[in-house]
Structure formats: structure tokens, C-alpha cells
Amino acid sequence: MGRREDAKAAVGALHRHTDALSDVCYLNQGQIDEVADNDTMISTLQKNKLAYPIDGLSGYQLHGKVRGLFDHVTRRHRYRESHSRLAGLIEDLESSILSYRHAKTKVHTDVDFALSEVKEIVMDIMDAIGDTVEMFHSVVNDEFSVVSDIDERIRQTRRCIDDISKINIVFESLGVSQMQRWVNVDLQLENLLMKILKSHVDRCLLDLVASGRKLHDMLAKLITDKKFQHVNNLIDAFSGKFKKDPGYRPNIDSVETPPDCLIQSEAIFIGGYANTDSAIDEVTLGDIAQTAMEKREAKLTKEHPEAENITVEHRTSETIEEEIDPLIISVEQLFDALMSPAAPDSLSACYAYRALNVNATLEDWMLTVMSYYSAQKRAIDPLWKLRISTHIEEPINGTHYVDDITFERKVVSHG
């Protein structure tokens, strides 16, 4: 027969006798009794090298590989069974302790027998706890390695974490306070529960904690892997889209209610503007401007420190001739004329402006004449009287426009 045929025949043999094989595995330690009912099964299994006769004994032994396969595929179920078995055993322990205490108070009852019952249950509990933790440990370490789908692995890990919390409830019922209540003042129970059972529970609890920690790590890693997988898929999807459709530009114009991630509010830069049209803030604005100017000046000085250190040169031997503005020269000429003996009786500033051919505007000329007059007033006033001809432009009559300034000689009376 070929490879495939052999495999099919073996699987078929197991399939045909699943129920009987399951009992053989878990109720009979793999031993198949040589009875008429099992003849077909024995011959089929033997043919497929799945069972062999036990030397010197009647009966057959199921191959270890078959037991391994059954163990592997029923691990979770058996774990659950053992979990509920454990809960039942604790109840049994409680009632056997009660019976033992009761036996101690009676004269004709067998105390040793009651105690041996308690011992037996304690041993059963220790086995059950050991099996449960061991099974859980192997569930955590092996079972998931064959599952490739991340979602399924996350689901299984979560389920395992739930189971671990259930086991913890069982462990809680085997806590010190509970044991002390059971022990009371009985030395034999103390030795049995507080020493033997307690140390075993502690050891198993440590294993359970380690498995639980590993489970949480696994879950965190799986969730991260899932997140990474999702992001990687997104990156690949868009990269593929841009390659396939080079002009692709996403558009959300027609989305009625976009999600939050697409309606991030635009940046607001908080600031204020002063109302320069109103005089109400004049003083405040003046202060702000003053402060700003001071800061600006300080900054400029900082930026250009050389401005602070002006080099002073010793240049006393040189003579620098100051150039006098031609406008000032013309004004001085006008006042020289006024003070000369040949001056006329009346002299107009506008006339002088034209006569001296002043190279400045008439307004500048008039203003300079007035300021010069103010400065020289004491010398000029005794001899000359100033007359200013002005006009008003309606409708505003508060402003007087100066047309001309005329100097008129004062009549000096000689006593």
C-alpha cells in the first residue's frame, strides 16, 4: 500500500472505534481487554500498528502515539473537566473534615478511617491541582502555536485568561484562613493541610502566576501584532492604489458627516487688535507703544552693540568749517538790510523772497523769518513794527493763512 492508503486506513481505524478508544485511553491507561467485543478493534489496530500485545499478560496495549493524539485533541476539554473536578473535591474535603471531627467526638466510631478519608481527598486534590496547572501550562505553551489567525489567537488567549481567573477562585478557597478554619486545633489535620497541601498549593500557584503572566504578555503581543498588521495593510493598500492609479487623489467633498479625524479644526492663533479709531484707548495704546519702542530700542542695542561703543578720536588740530544753509544766509541778509541805515521804511518778506531769489519754498522762508525775528526780537522791535497780513478760508474760520510779513519802520519821536 502507498503512503496515502496507509494513512487513510489508520485514521479510518481510529474513526471507527473512537468511543472505545477514548475509554481505553482515559479509563484503562491504554490497555485493551482481550474480550470478544474488542476483537475487531484489536485486529484493525494491530493491522495499522496502533496496538500491540502485552508480553506475558492477556490483552493489548494501545500505542503511545494514539494516546498522545487523544491527549492533544482533548486537552481543553479535559482541562475543563479537571477544573470542575477540583471544585467538587474541595467540597468533598470539607465534608470529610466534618465527618472526621464528628468521629472524634463519638466513642465507637473509627477516627483513623475518617482521617484516612481526609488524607485520600487531600492527595486527590493535590493531584488535581497539579494536573490542572500542568495542563494549563501546556495549553499556554503548545496549543496556540498551530493557530495562525491573529483574531483566533487573541480569542483563545482571552479565554485562557478567563479560565485562569476561575482557577484562582479555586485557589482562594484553599487559602491560609480557610485551612486554619478546617484545622482548628487538630495536629494531624494541621500537618496534612497546613504543611503538605499548603506547600503544594503554593508551588502550583507560582506556576499558575507564571503562566498567567505569559498569557498577558502573549495577549499584548498579539494585539500589537494585530495593530501592526492593520497599519501595514493600510500602507500597502494605498501604495498599491498610487501605483495602479498614478493620478489618484482622495476626495471627501461629498462626505456628508466626515469622521473626527477628517474635521480637525484649523489652527487658531489667538491675538487682538486695538481700536485706533477711538480715543478711549489712547492712553493705553500710548503706553503699549512706548513699551514696544523701549523693547525695540533695547533689542537693537543688543543686536548692534557697536552702536554703544563709539570710538572717540582726538582731532583738535583740525578746523572744520561749518557750512551755513543758504536759507539762513538769505534770512540774515534780510535782517542786515533792515538794520542798515539805508533801509527803506517798509520791507515785505515776500518781496525779499523774490529779490534774494531764495532757494526754498515760500512757507519755509516765512517760518524761518518768523523764528529769526523771535530770536532777534529785542534788537528789532525798537526800530521795526511787524505786520502780518492773513486771510481766512471759509467755512472754517479758525485758521489764518499768512500772506505776507511786512516790517514797517517805527516813527521815532525826538523829544
Binding site: 495593530k227 493598500a237 494605498f238 498599491g240 482622495p250 471627501i252 469622521p259 474635521i263 480637525q264 484649523e266
Partner: protein, 211 residues
């Protein structure tokens, strides 16, 4: 409510369009993480037509409009989206480049470290990565005239820092941490992908492509 400098800082950051996260501003992020503070911030933003939103991976907070009830808000949102789209292809290419350099092919997510030296040594060893960087630099308009991979990489990193995708760490300026702006980007991509019905390549297709 009395004056709180950290509250002020958070509000200012949110209104300046920042994504508040553990990397970009740890103190602010921790402040927002507290439910009471979150409620206060949200209440404050609601009064100006906005609300506090969170990225789907819960790593970043940002400010979003309550509703796009005016044409002004709608046009601003569209304008923002358009500027996001302009750089999208370059950003996607950058993500692929960083992922291909990572030993475990992990994508760039908030909190991930980016070391310029590691990227550069991988890029300088591979012509294909050099070309990828060149293309990214062109798409993001960051490369300038330089032909050197180092200059291009530095310019791209600088651009990503300016856009708040990366935050420089340490004093050398060559190590960065990814901010939760990437989380916001992935949320945006997720929505666009489902809206535009962009197909995600199945694992088999990806394997075939790799082969």
C-alpha cells in the same frame, strides 16, 4: 474654574492644530488623560463649536469641529484635506521605506524610535532604498539640489519634524520619536480606504508579490 497654566497650554495646543500625545507633550497628555480634565477641556471647546477628539488607538488627542454647519468651516476642512493629499503619496512611500528597514517589518507608529544613522546605513547599502528616498524627497519637495543620500534623508526628517510627525530626541538631532500624528494619519487613511473602497491585498497576494 480657577486659572490653570497646564489647562491653558492644552487648549492653546489643541487650537493650534497639534495632536497632544505622550511624545509631543507628555505633561499635557497626562493632564488630558484624566477624565475630569478631559470634561473641562471638552466643555471649553464646545463653547466655540469644537470638541476634544481622540485617535482610535487612544494615543493622541486633537480638536475637531462639532459639525460642518457653515460653508466657511467646510471650505477650510476641504482646504486642509487638499494639503494633506498633496503629500500623501510621499508619506506612504516614507512609511514603506522605514518599514522595509525595520528588522521585524513593523510600521512607524506613535512612540517608535527613528534613528537617522540606522536609516542612512541601510539606505547607503541598497540602491533600491536610495531610489526610494530620492522619490520621497521629490514627492515631499524636500531634497533641494543635493544628490547625497544623507542630505536628502536629513531634509525629509526635518520636514517630518516641521509637520509634527517626529519629535527630535536628545541633543544630537539625529534621533527622533514618532508622535501620535501618525495615529491620526492612519485613522484618516482607514476612513478613505473604506470610503474609496480601496482593496487590501490578501495575504496570499502579498506572498505571491514577495515571491
Amino acid at each position: 474654574m480657577s486659572y490653570s497654566p497646564i489647562f491653558e497650554e492644552v487648549i492653546m495646543q489643541l487650537l493650534a492644530q497639534s495632536v497632544v500625545c505622550e511624545i509631543s507633550s507628555p505633561e499635557c497628555f497626562r493632564f488630558v488623560e484624566q477624565e475630569h480634565n478631559r470634561e473641562q477641556i471638552d466643555k471649553h471647546l464646545h463653547a466655540i463649536g469644537r470638541h476634544l477628539a481622540q485617535t482610535s488607538d487612544k494615543l493622541g488627542y486633537f480638536c475637531a469641529y462639532n459639525v460642518l454647519d457653515t460653508s466657511k468651516k467646510r471650505s477650510r476642512t476641504q482646504k486642509q484635506f487638499e494639503s494633506f493629499v498633496i503629500d500623501l503619496e510621499g508619506i506612504i512611500d516614507w512609511l514603506r521605506l522605514v518599514r522595509s528597514i525595520d528588522q521585524d517589518s513593523r510600521p512607524l507608529v506613535a512612540g517608535a524610535q527613528v534613528k537617522e544613522s540606522e536609516l542612512l546605513s541601510a539606505i547607503e547599502e541598497s540602491n533600491s532604498l536610495k531610489q526610494q528616498l530620492e522619490s520621497i524627497s521629490q514627492k515631499l519637495k524636500t531634497g533641494g539640489k543635493s544628490t547625497e543620500a544623507r542630505a536628502k534623508l536629513t531634509a525629509v526628517l526635518k520636514y517630518l519634524v516641521e509637520q509634527n510627525y517626529l519629535k527630535p530626541m536628545g541633543g544630537t538631532g539625529t534621533q527622533f520619536m514618532a508622535t501620535a500624528k501618525w495615529s491620526l494619519l492612519y485613522d484618516q487613511l482607514d476612513f478613505i480606504r473604506s470610503y474609496d473602497a480601496i482593496e487590501i491585498a490578501s495575504e496570499t497576494e502579498q506572498q505571491r508579490e514577495l515571491l
